[in-house]
Amino acid sequence: MSKDEEFMPKILAFLCNWCSYAGADLAGTSRLKYPPSILPIRVMCSSRVDPLFIIKAYLGGADGVLVAGCHPGDCHYEKGNYYTRRRFVMLKEVVKGLGLEPERIRLSWISASEGNKYVEVTTEFTEKIKKLGKNSAKNKIFL
């Protein structure tokens, strides 16, 4: 990457199969434009995302990690996303408490019909991460 080239973050996005992945699909089939920063990973439910996945991605150098699932009340497995939400509260506190950057992890509810919201969330998150800059964990040796 040359100096004047703009920094394009790498954002890992865990998308739940039943809502958010379908939402991303809809954005695609509707030919909506969203940033190339997003690397989607399909999971069956947002609650499948072990906080360790997020930690690993962060230490591995991901500039941002997005977890997206069905809106509360709409989880395909009824209550998965309620657990996800509590784990997120916990994880953010852990990250904050260690003096790291909770801004690099994000939880969003995106339904299958919300192609637009998918675009909004990914665009906004990408912009935010661009401002934060590169994740400094990426080239640390003594991890």
Binding site: P51, L52, S136, L143
Partner: protein, 368 residues
């Protein structure tokens, strides 16, 4: 008002007499307490069934060789005790045990809990060279005055949870005239029941709030100081690397942690082992890699597992060979996580661990 038993003897004597009484009268069949191994001040938790053996018992000796919650879990993991046992434990040990029971790692059945207003304990290495034993009288003097004894572990110096929540009996040590009297609060029906018939004066009393608050204030101040010092060090990834860079990956902190109960720790499983391809891709990215990698992943991961239930007993600090302030880091992060859920680990066995339950309407702000 709480029921209390006052014995007109030194607390040290009084409590031993109570334990002897419990055994002799068959109210319990065993006593789980600290026992002296030699004259230098080495102690270990033991189960005692013969009243005579109690002469080596040293309940509330200012050391925590292992968090007793962990031991009681092993004692009751495969089923509850068939006979009643009295366990003399510290408040944080009792809380750890409750957290383990919530995880189905033990049973409360047939165990009476005797705890105390807790003066704290010394680092374990201070027992090996005999300093704890040598300074015992200074320790008890400070406890008597409601002060923080010298050379306590940081976790104890800064502990505000030094009164047990669920003990059947609480021996009052803080700010008490422990040379002359032994004051035991009987908090539960069980506590009252087993104390019945004991020589002493039964009365109604409250723990002296003023003295407790005064000590809590001192410990709060100590906590603030320790947290502030930590915060300066924990700034960003570089700060963390500075702190954990010297970790030798012995995993001692995990092994002695009462909450880390997994038989096979995730971070020791083959899943966490680096494959050649992992090394390759990491090396390409970073241009160098600590071997073995994963020190910070280990602690961040462990925090994600146990911060919700960390009772800040300080056991991890005791074992870290390179003096990483593991306990204070876990206490600091633990407290902030627990605060989010308004949760005090080990306070009430009926209360769900926050991460295995939910409310439908809550934490809307965490979604963006």
């Amino acid at each position: 008002m709480t029921k209390a038993l006052k014995i007109n003897k030194s607390t040290e004597q009084g409590i031993l007499e109570l334990l002897k009484f419990l055994l002799k009268k068959g109210k319990v069949k065993g006593i789980f307490t600290l026992k002296k191994i030699n004259k230098d001040g080495s102690v270990a938790y033991s189960l005692i069934t013969k009243p005579d053996e109690l002469k080596y018992a040293v309940p509330f000796y200012p050391l925590m060789p292992v968090n007793a919650g962990k031991l009681l879990s092993r004692f009751s993991l495969k089923g509850s005790s068939s006979e009643p046992v009295a366990a003399v434990v510290r408040p944080c040990e009792l809380r750890a045990f409750i957290e383990l029971v919530k995880r189905e790692q033990g049973s409360l059945e047939n165990i009476f809990f005797i705890s105390s207003t807790c003066g704290g304990v010394h680092p374990i290495d201070k027992s090996v060279d005999g300093t704890v034993e040598k300074n015992l009288s200074e320790y008890w003097d400070a406890v008597k005055k409601g002060e923080i004894p010298a050379e306590l572990r940081p976790a104890c110096r800064s502990c505000e949870e030094f009164i047990p929540y669920t003990a059947d009996m609480t021996v009052d040590l803080i700010g008490n005239n422990i040379d002359k009297q032994c004051m035991i609060f009987l908090n539960t029906k069980n506590g009252e029941e087993i104390a019945k018939g004991m020589d002493g004066e039964f009365l109604e009393k409250e723990i002296n709030k003023e003295k407790i608050d005064k000590l809590r204030g001192k410990r709060e101040a100590e906590k603030k100081k320790l947290f502030d010092e930590l915060e300066v060090k924990m700034n960003g990834m570089d700060g963390l690397i500075e702190i954990f860079g010297k970790c030798i990956s012995c995993h001692g902190c995990m092994r002695v942690c009462p909450i880390c109960y997994c038989k096979l720790c995730e971070f020791e499983s083959s899943d966490s082992e680096y494959k050649p391809s992992n090394y390759e891709s990491d090396l390409k990215k970073r241009g160098g890699l600590r071997v073995p990698p994963g020190t910070i992943y280990f602690q961040l991961g462990r925090l994600s597992h146990i911060s919700i239930s960390c009772v800040a007993c300080g056991a991890c600090d005791d074992v870290c060979p390179v003096d990483i302030p593991v306990a204070m880091i876990f206490k600091k992060v633990g407290e902030s996580v627990q605060k989010m859920f308004d949760y005090i680990p080990g306070k009430d066995v009926e209360e769900d661990i926050p991460l295995v339950t939910f409310e439908k309407e809550e934490f809307a702000e965490v979604e963006e």
